[in-house]
């Protein structure tokens, strides 16, 4: 393809707009800017939290103060002024009708395609927990789920109504001082989802959290805790968007998943935070710690992620395979364009016997972006007959971007097998030629090839998400042929 056409097409993608970039004009309650013990006490008071949780926050804050931000990522992370962030923002409740959802909020989520009124959707029924800045707006289908003993509510409600469960599991997978951003989250986390599936219960519908950042100058610090008791199973989905702004906004979340004996958890993310403009101005800094543990034998945890947004992504959904015969998968598509940077991957820590893990990562970089896969596979001495296979492919579109692979493989057991493969290439001329020759234009051909390239991961997504993810891929890369 000739250079001019290539440039035109590359310009085309830069002009693609971010359709979730609107701002909702709503009266909000803020805490003052800055971060200190007073602010943490204030957040805790606003959320009417018990003392043990305040102590947990303060302890995490004191640890965080002694920590330094990690610098090993392949990222140019702008310095973050933690005193210049508003740590809590909530839409004001109408004091006359405290039970009802503000119509403006409802409209916002409607516009984003998130049903916060219970209704039968075409693609099936999904229970949604919608989080707007620092609070959960509503959780749907709660009654139906309650009848089966399933708890699905906002984290704040869980603290009020199920304190024993929260206390039992909180910070058991991601300790409060696990890393710099997890410690920050432990100190100031606002809201998120809590989900508990009791013994032997198969959750009848997919559960979903939708996170929306709206207010200027704020950060979002969500905390999600998912517990699947013995033999339970659940399909969990997470989505995120934010308005277009020329400032960087911080999103530092912690997700913890506990999978007991024979339980099965599938966790899917479609991350579409605002990625910044074509010059790399603004966008969300997505610094997230996600970790799950397969506690009992036969437990299964699967991560699927489609990462198309954020100016910077720093995210490694990981699994600790402690139970014998437990298994885990990580499927990821990460797309970066313009000046986006992504350093993402996974960790699989094999402790138990006969544990299995599989990693499939597909990176696509275009524009001036940098896209890295970083992963750790560790076989501990007790991981007899454990098995891992990793496949990490990178696709480069244009000559100004970078694609990197940084795996770390450690084996301490003579019966464990670890395999890693990685390739880097561009869309092959042959494939393009083949398509063109059959009357498929260059743009459609790229769409076809990229979709085929990411197919293995996209096909793992639940149906409700697969449609959205395929569309997102097209918007992010339309015409970006090089």
């Amino acid at each position: 393809m000739d250079k001019n056409k290539e440039r035109d097409l590359l310009n085309g993608i830069e002009q693609e707009e971010y359709k979730e970039g609107f701002v909702t004009d709503i009266e909000q309650q803020f805490v003052p800017k800055g971060l200190n013990e007073e602010i943490i006490r204030l957040i805790s008071r606003l959320k009417e939290e018990p003392d043990w949780l305040l102590d947990f926050r303060l302890d995490a804050f004191r640890r965080w103060q002694k920590m330094t931000p990690p610098s090993w990522g392949h990222l140019d992370l702008p310095p973050i002024d933690f005193q210049d962030i508003i740590y809590y923002a909530a839409p004001k409740k109408d004091s006359e009708r405290p039970k009802e959802i503000d119509p403006k909020l409802e409209e916002t989520f409607e516009k984003l395609g998130i049903p916060i009124r219970e209704r039968e959707a075409l693609a099936g029924v999904v229970a949604v927990d919608a989080v707007f800045d620092s609070v959960s707006v509503t959780t749907t289908f709660r009654k139906t789920l309650e009848d089966m003993g399933i708890i699905f509510c906002s984290f704040s409600e869980a603290v009020k109504n199920h304190p024993d469960l929260v206390r039992k599991y909180l910070a058991t997978v991601v300790p409060s001082a696990d890393n710099y951003y997890a410690a920050l989250n432990s100190a100031v986390f606002s809201d998120g989802s809590f989900c508990y599936i009791p013994k032997g219960v198969k959750c009848p519908m997919a559960l979903s959290s939708y996170f929306r950042i709206n207010a200027r100058g704020t950060g979002q610090f969500e905390r999600t805790l998912i517990v699947a008791d013995e033999g339970a199973s659940v399909n969990y989905m997470e989505g995120c968007t934010a308005p277009m702004r020329d400032e960087n906004q911080l999103h530092a979340a912690v997700v913890e998943i506990i999978v007991e004996k024979d339980a099965d958890v599938r966790y899917s993310t479609v991350q579409n935070w605002y990625p910044g403009d074509a010059e790399g101005k603004g966008g969300i800094l997505n610094l997230v710690t996600k970790r799950g543990i397969c506690k009992g034998s036969g437990a299964h945890l699967s991560w699927t992620q489609v990462e198309t947004g954020s100016a910077i992504t720093w995210k490694y959904p990981s699994t600790i395979l402690r139970g014998d015969n437990s298994s885990s998968e990580f499927y990821s598509v990460a797309v970066t364009n313009n000046y986006q940077q992504a350093d993402t991957g996974t960790k699989m820590i094999h402790i138990g016997r006969n544990t299995r893990s599989r990693i499939v990562s597909k990176g696509i970089s275009a524009g001036h972006s940098q896209n890295s896969y970083r992963g750790l596979v560790k076989m501990l001495p007790g991981a007899w007959n454990a098995r891992n296979f990793s496949q990490c492919d990178s696709l480069l579109i244009g000559s100004k971007c970078g694609a990197h692979t940084f795996p770390d493989i450690q084996n301490e057991n003579p019966t464990a097998v670890v395999e890693h493969e990685a390739t880097t290439s561009k869309i092959s001329e042959d494939q393009l030629f083949y398509c063109n020759q059959r009357g498929i234009g260059p743009e459609d051909a790229v769409g076809l090839i990229v979709n085929g390239y990411a197919r293995e991961v996209l096909s793992r997504l639940p149906m409700e998400f697969a449609v959205e993810a395929t569309k997102l891929l097209q918007v992010s890369l339309e015409g970006s042929i090089g």
Partner: protein, 252 residues
């Protein structure tokens, strides 16, 4: 916004070797003592050919005691083998290969950095090895393709056999790529002797211990067969075979 590519100049150090335009540099190094490679840096100019083969074997007894006597250090000192290759001229071809056989409590660290600075170069790396006893082997292999180093072919593979419960192998293959019209791949695997192969050999009357020896030899054979000097190849093959037989005896 700055890019991520860090342009470290190809500075010539004390142990640098410059392979001039169109020249060929071939070296087979057997490391079985405390001495490492005589060089740690290669600068490959246009159309040069570099072929380096590193054979890491357990310390011979005399040298091991010599090491302990001379430095007072214990036998478990890490044998560090660093090697950086800068491809600075178009058309340069670099082949790096190596095998290691680690037994007892030896600790070996092999790190290669291959920097493709200019277009139209190729690099090919193959490292296979075996760790038994209480040994610990670390492989670090970094491939960097600079912006505009188009039409680069870079390939790397590291296959490892972990044969005893107390041995340990870590592998860190890394790709850092800033140009799009390239073909780069790496593969790393850590595992055991294939049971199907073992069954095949034993079903043909080969005893288990001999089957294992044959498997281990065939595992490192691709590297040895790449040595072009026939006399040297035969010599190294014999040496490696005897080391593998010694190692096999320590496994039940």
């Amino acid at each position: 916004m700055p890019g991520h590519y860090i342009d470290i100049p190809a500075a010539v150090g004390e142990k640098s070797v410059r392979v001039g335009e169109g020249e060929t540099f071939t070296k087979v190094a057997v490391l079985d003592g405390k001495a490492g490679l005589p060089f740690d840096h290669i600068i490959a100019e246009a159309d040069s050919k570099v072929d380096i083969c590193v054979i890491v074997l357990p310390h011979t007894d005399s040298e091991a005691s010599e090491t302990a006597g001379a430095s007072g250090a214990s036998e478990t000192a890490v044998i560090d083998i660093p090697l950086t290759v800068d491809l600075v001229g178009e058309g340069a071809e670099v082949k790096l290969s190596g095998i290691y056989v680690c037994a007892s409590d030896s600790k070996v660290k092999l790190s290669t950095i291959v920097r493709h600075r200019v277009p139209h170069c190729s690099s090919d790396q193959t490292f296979n090895g075996i760790a038994g006893g209480k040994s610990h082997f670390k492989f670090f292999g970094h491939i960097i393709v600079a912006p505009d180093a188009q039409k680069t072919n870079a390939y790397q593979s590291s296959h490892n056999l972990l044969l005893s419960p107390e041995a340990r192998i870590d592998a860190k293959p890394q790709l850092e790529i800033y140009a799009d019209d390239v073909k780069c791949s790496h593969g790393a695997a850590i595992g055991q002797l294939n049971e199907d192969e073992q069954f095949y050999l034993r079903s043909r009357g080969i005893p288990e211990s001999e089957a294992k020896v044959l498997q281990m030899i065939s595992f490192v054979a691709p590297v040895i067969s790449g040595i072009s000097d026939e006399a040297l190849r035969e010599k190294i093959h014999a040496r490696v075979e005897s080391v593998i037989r010694d190692l096999a005896e320590t496994l039940q």
